[in-house]
């Protein structure tokens, strides 16, 4: 495969962020000269422990903070550029919603701010409410919602403009495991449609399942980055999986390995991840019971988000400057 690299959507170049107090004295050196690029159509994961500067990076990209040093480009524009915001979706770490607005009103408001036409706004609001499974609560004020419900609205408002770049700050925090899985499916689906996604998280499982590139932040520095596959693969070790092998077969295999390589092969039973177990238990329970309230309805996707996938071999056209 000799694909030309797709164009960079985000460029972060030597960015420092120092938070200062009222008198201008430095308080926290939150980012310490970070560099990275995110190319179009990629799912990029920003990993790191709490307080490592993930959210700060996001906010710098959105122009909510200004770098102390270094430069950032987003969709070929300065983060302070208002025009470029109509092509970005952002889901903050906590829900920054107006507690007195209902989901309906919230989405309509952000639709208006995004400059959607009245008709578009109405249909997209409808479809997104359907997708996040909150049609039944559409008239209740958001202030009364549980965290997970508020997160769903937060997600919906990030998708209203069908953005080409989506920034998600700890997207799965507050979601139940089923919601998490559906969320990850959604991300993969959006990625197939050629959207660029940046998500940051300290939950490794989330990142592992969806990202194709990651950067690990620690104390405001990037200490590892690259393709997920390259970073995770231990290419010198190989694992064989066999369904219900007889003890005799295992014995024989071990003897062969010992004879040819002189090594002792390690034998264990792969365990499912807790997530898999949880999900299969829920699914079998769901078969004869009503859906737990507030869960994301299986497989439903807002129609305006379900465009055709972008094929691997044709890199998406460069975004206009």
């Amino acid at each position: 495969m000799s694909n030309p690299e797709p164009p960079a959507v985000i460029t972060v170049d030597g960015v420092h962020k120092i938070f200062r107090d009222f008198w201008g004295r430095p308080k926290v050196h939150a980012l310490n000269g970070i560099h990275f690029q995110v190319r179009q159509g990629r799912v990029f994961g920003l990993l790191g422990p709490n307080g490592s500067g993930k959210s700060t990076t996001m906010k710098l990209l959105l122009g909510l903070l200004r770098p102390s040093r270094g430069s950032l480009k987003i969709l070929n524009a300065d983060p302070q550029d208002v025009g470029v915001k109509s092509r970005i979706g952002y889901m903050p770490e906590e829900s920054y919603l107006y507690p007195y607005l209902s989901p309906d009103e919230t989405l309509r408001l952000y639709g208006q701010l995004l400059g959607l036409s009245e008709h578009e706004n109405r249909t997209r609001t409808e479809e997104l409410l359907e997708m996040i499974g909150l049609t039944h609560a559409r008239r209740r004020p958001v202030g009364e919602f549980s965290k997970g419900m508020a997160r769903r609205i937060s997600l919906a408002q990030a998708l209203l403009n069908d953005p080409e770049l989506i920034l998600l700050d700890e997207p799965t925090a507050g979601l139940d495991p089923l919601g998490c899985r559906q969320f990850k499916d959604l991300i993969l689906h959006l990625a197939r449609r050629g959207k660029t996604i940046v998500l940051c998280s300290h939950l490794l499982a989330d990142v592992e399942d969806v990202c194709d590139r990651i950067a690990i932040l620690y104390n405001g520095r990037i200490c590892a980055d690259g393709r997920m596959r390259d970073l995770l693969q231990e290419s010198r070790i190989c694992r064989l999986s066999i369904r219900q092998p007889s003890p005799a077969l295992i014995d024989e295999l071990q003897q062969t390995i010992r004879k040819t390589t002189g090594q002792e092969a390690a034998i264990d039973h792969p365990s499912r991840s807790l997530e898999d177990l949880f999900l299969s238990a829920i699914r079998s329970a769901e078969a004869d019971q009503t859906r737990p309230s507030g869960a994301l309805p299986e497989g439903r996707l807002a129609p305006f988000l379900s465009g055709p996938p972008v094929s691997e071999t044709t890199p998406p056209a460069a975004s206009p400057p």
Binding site: T56, L64, R66, Y90, Y96, G115
Partner: protein, 456 residues
């Protein structure tokens, strides 16, 4: 534009959601239901109009001013603290749209309150006016007046002369500049002496009237007040003479009047042909005992042009008050862009209070901080006084034009508020000061980082 409207509606919703609007509505209802019952006035229609409008409308506007200042402070400061502003700022909206949207939302809400309360008050007033003593009295009792001042004579040369004289007599230093308050003192003395009427003398004021001032259906009225050299209970005989420059014979009116009271004389229609000055002469016939009369310059004599479109006049008054509220909204909003809620509130209330201190600031600005005299000699401005005076002068030059728009007092005094007054109020409050605060607010919004971290 659509985005501004969306933000305005959002601001309205957020204000409606807070308790303050509920409390405001309750207080307004209380004011509107209690004040008219308790404020009866002196039994005359003008008295009723004055007391009802000055107190009730005054209370309404004070309530609305505090409410708009409070909600405006919160509009940005609260949303910044609660981080809702962060999400709004990630949408394609400019800072200008945010500021304007919030401003318009605040103005819309409070104007709705102002005009509703104003309308109710107007009907309460209409329904509770005392019966007029005669049908003709009703015409002027329920009317409003444009106050016309006599043209002030140039006293520049007389003043120069008087100051020179004082220098020669050694009352003033022979060289160097003369302090402004000394100049003011002498000019007042000259103008007072001009309108001081010894027995059997007379004085004439010249009025430049607008062409429509003297209408057949709404003739002019004369309003005057004087002081007398004798403080006695007997009235003073006066002769008033009214003459326009054309060859119409003068209209003459004999009157006996007490000193220190405000007198109003209805004049016959057709005194003024529409152009040229109207000369008003007063002759003092108080010879037994001989009494000298003093007409204070600028405040002792006016002609009143009568108008009957009271509803419209009242509406114009409300428009001026609306401009004032818009100004407070701008102050509060920008304070909220600059500071967090408590500081912003403090700042806004400070401005509100500063505006109500306008008169005392003016006094200091005009007559100095200390008026200590040492053995007849005035102590000049010391090192301490100079900066204080400068601050007061600067504050006064800002506050004075704002102060001069005292609509509630004007409405209470049945004075006419012209469209020009409305225009002046909007230019001053909204275009000038609103604009200044808008620019400051935008600069603050642009400079300030709103990306507060979570969980703080």
């Amino acid at each position: 534009m659509k985005k501004i409207v969306a933000l305005a509606v959002l601001t309205l919703r957020s204000a409606l959601n807070s308790r303050i609007v509920l409390i405001l509505g309750l207080l307004l209802t209380l004011v509107l239901s209690l004040f008219p019952l308790h404020l009866q006035g002196d039994g005359t229609a003008p008295g009723r109009i004055r007391i009802l409008l000055e107190y009730t409308l005054g209370a309404i506007v004070t309530l609305l001013s505090f409410s708009i200042a409070w909600t405006a402070c919160n509009a940005v400061a609260r949303e910044a603290a609660d981080r809702q502003l962060q999400l709004v700022l990630t949408k394609p909206v400019t800072r200008l749209q945010i500021w304007l949207g919030k401003w318009l939302g605040l103005i819309a809400l409070h104007s709705a309150f102002l005009f509703t309360a104003g309308l109710i008050l107007y009907f309460i007033l209409l329904g509770s006016l005392p019966k007029a003593t005669s049908p003709s009295a009703k015409d002027w009792e329920w009317a409003h007046y444009q106050v016309l001042n006599p043209t002030t004579e140039s006293i520049a040369s007389a003043l120069d002369h008087r100051l020179e004289e004082a220098r020669q007599k050694g009352q003033l230093p022979s060289k160097g500049p003369i302090p402004q308050r000394t100049v003011n003192y002498y000019s007042l003395e000259i103008r007072r002496s001009l309108a001081t009427l010894a027995p059997t003398t007379h004085f004439a004021w010249s009025f430049e009237l607008p062409p429509e001032a003297d209408k057949p259906a709404a003739p002019l009225r004369l309003r005057y007040q004087f002081s007398a050299s004798r403080w006695e209970r007997n009235p003073v005989p006066l002769v008033w003479r009214f003459q326009s420059s054309t060859n119409v014979p003068a209209f003459v009116l004999h009157q006996t009047a007490y000193a220190e009271q405000i007198w109003e004389l209805p004049l016959p229609p057709g005194l003024h042909p529409g152009t040229g000055p109207l000369l008003v002469t007063c002759e003092n016939f108080a010879t037994n005992p001989p009494t000298t009369l003093i007409f204070e310059p600028d405040q002792s004599i006016h002609l009143l042009a009568t108008h009957h479109d009271n509803g419209l006049n009242y509406f114009r008054g409300l428009l001026v008050l609306m401009a004032r509220l818009a100004f407070f909204a701008a102050v509060g909003l920008t304070a909220g862009c600059l500071f967090s809620t408590p500081t912003a509130l403090f700042f806004t209330l400070f401005i509100l209070i500063l505006l109500s201190l306008g008169t005392s600031i003016r006094e200091v600005a005009e007559s100095g901080v200390f008026t200590i005299s040492h053995e007849g000699e005035e102590i000049g401005a010391g090192a301490f006084e100079t900066p204080i005076l400068a601050v007061h002068r600067a504050a006064n030059s800002i506050l004075d034009p704002i102060q001069s728009l005292d609509v509630i007092h004007q409405l209470g005094g049945q004075e006419r508020i012209s469209w020009a007054d409305v225009g002046r109020a909007w230019r001053l409050y909204v275009a000038l000061w609103g604009g200044i605060f808008l620019l400051a607010g935008l600069a603050a919004l642009r400079r300030r980082e709103f990306g507060k971290p979570e969980n703080l």
